[in-house]
Amino acid sequence: MDLICIGLNHKTCPVEIREKIAFSESALHEALLEMRTIEDLREWFILSTCNRVELYGRGLPGIEERLIRFLVEYHGLEDNICQPYFYRYRGRDAAKHLFRVSSGLDSLVIGENEIYGQIRHAFRLANELKTLDSILYQLIERSLRLGKRARSETKISEGAVSVSSIAVELAEKIFGRLTGERVLILGTGKMSELTMKHLVKAGAGEITVASRTYERALELSQKFGAKPIGFDAWLRVLRTSDIVISSTSAPHPIVKFEDVQSVMKERRHKPLFFIDIAVPRDVDPRIGEMDDVYLYDIDDLKTVSEANLRLRKKEIAKCEAIIERELESFDQWYEFLEAGPVIQKLTAYFDSVVENEIAKVGSKFKGHEDELKILIQKIKAGLLHVPVEKLKESARMGSIERYLETLHSLFRLEERKLPQSEPKDQEQPSRAEDVH
């Protein structure tokens, strides 16, 4: 198998180097076209994300170094700085690596979903620019299918792990699918903004932003179409809010037990969800003990994240098993691919034998011409059935080469040319225009 993969990722390379070697959208387009100049490279595609830059292709040994040189030179970097961070995979290992990447096993956060979309995007771009042929196309298509399967058949991506997505998941466990729940933001930290963004995306409704600096509240409000208020008015808004995200830099708790106690009475115990991301904490921890109040501080969120990550890690073995099965299937497909030209030559040989014999007796045949054609097709199918099935089976067993050699010598296939009218490779997969 002449598949290769070279690259660097968050495990092998610091971010200072990764950010220099990553491709922007336009650069990716340009680089894919420029790779045509790399000698002996057959089919290629580039996967470039914030956590990895990888080049996949096909070529003889030695092509790996040419690809690395291309990457380094393209970005105008010094060869000796980047070299130690690169990994190189060949053949089955390259395929396995892509399968692990697509199923999220190689990601910084195990099981994350973003990588799936990134591979799909890279695939579409390479396909548009026609840098893919049958083998890499098949490999990526399989990796995408595998990524989907790994996520649906195992719990590898179950449970949120980032603070903002945990907040959304918890909010949905309290309020159901978010449909206009009111959000109150106390303080305008980066994390609040990110959490708010996730909540809005999930369906949260009216947002009110309270900050000691009104201008900052206004600035953040404008980004999300929220309502800015002065910091002295937040308690009034709390009565009608469902979700509170707090991240002020106050040295003492600003959300007091007594205040929430009276607010809960007024709310008639409609649930209230506090996400306290501030350190030191903004919300009195005793509030979490109240009925119908759910309080998660930064440590609680981290605990949930770790629990979910542990859950995901338990699923790695199941994912690896799925990958192994897919690799076997890919190997078989690849091996059988080699049989394609042999089968075509064998078919052509049978055709010529039958045509010769028919030519000899054709005038004596008294039946209808269509019937004769059908009869010939049936005889050919019958003759080819057993050898083709045997080849498929041997591809599965990994012993196809022996059979190919035998067929070659038995029928002198090397002396025969491939039929011109037939497609070059019968066993090549049909290309789907759209990859789901």
Partner: protein, 281 residues
């Protein structure tokens, strides 16, 4: 082996299989659009309906009377209650059906089917009333209302389990497939409202039956008073939740308390009295 016994064994086996499938689906990562467990619970309900028909006609034939519901013994009443539970969940509340709910419902159904395997003595006092339409309406609405309250009880338990998990903050794996608090609360109070409405019908039809059979609208016996008390308690709960908009854990706990009263009305009153309220003696 009689046809009824064969069907009873069949429905129990199907509900048990549904439970196994629910458990598998709950523990697995896959979210299937068509759940085998849900299909099985529906199949179980169909077989159970066939069983109820068989029992009804066999009984009517055996007792040479017009029509008998299979609620004349404790075993029959328990089995009929299981059927009512499935009927209310699958038919009356079909829009509120929840996949994870089956995980608790199916073992409950099996539990109520077990007494139906054992022979109990028929309560002869009840048999003479089956020709009365009010009596039949009373029986059916009472069973359906108890079933509704039982479903609200199951949902309330799930609510408290989820509330606890959310408060403990670590058991994230537990609640991934559980419904939200809001959905569960919605289910609890919808079933309570349905149960309250059906219990109202049961009380009214019972009063009319009592008038025609005994000449009085209110029989002075524990079950009648317990039913009125249960209805009144649920009226308060509905008022607090529906009119005063009270929500949350306390309301759920209140619904659990009310269900204890339902249990007392359905089962407990037979300690004080036997005979009139069929099947429970």
């Amino acid at each position: 082996m009689s046809l009824a016994f064969f069907l009873l064994s069949g429905v129990t086996a199907v509900y048990l299989a549904a439970f196994v499938f629910f458990l598998r689906e709950f523990l697995s990562a896959e979210t299937k659009s068509t759940s085998w467990a849900s299909r099985l619970i529906e199949l179980g309900f169909l077989i159970h309906t066939l069983l109820i028909f068989t029992q009804t006609f066999t009984l009517s034939d055996k007792l040479s009377s017009q029509f008998h519901l299979p609620v004349t013994t404790l075993g029959e009443a328990s089995g009929f209650f299981a059927w009512s539970l499935a009927f209310v969940y699958l038919i009356l509340l079909r829009q509120l059906k929840m996949e994870t709910f089956g995980l608790i419902l199916t073992p409950a159904l099996v539990l109520f089917l077990i007494p139906a395997f054992f022979p109990f003595q028929v309560n002869p006092a009840s048999l003479i009333h089956f020709h009365d339409t009010y009596f039949l309406l009373h029986i059916l609405s009472a069973f359906f209302s108890y079933a509704s309250f039982a479903l609200s009880f199951i949902a309330a338990l799930l609510y408290l389990a989820l509330d606890r998990a959310l408060k403990q903050k670590t058991s994230a794996s537990f609640y991934h497939k559980l419904l939200s608090l809001d959905d569960l609360e919605h289910f609890i109070f919808r079933t309570i409202f349905l149960g309250f409405f059906l219990l109202g019908i049961a009380i009214l039809s019972g009063a009319f039956w009592s008038k025609s059979a005994f000449g009085t609208f209110l029989l002075r016996e524990p079950k009648s008073f317990a039913s009125l008390l249960t209805w009144a308690v649920y009226l308060v709960i509905i008022y607090l939740h529906g009119i005063l908009m009270r929500k949350g854990r306390r309301m759920v706990l209140m619904s659990l308390g009310a269900f204890v009263l339902v249990l007392f009305t359905f089962l407990g009153t037979s300690i004080f009295q036997t005979g009139l309220h069929v099947g429970i003696r």
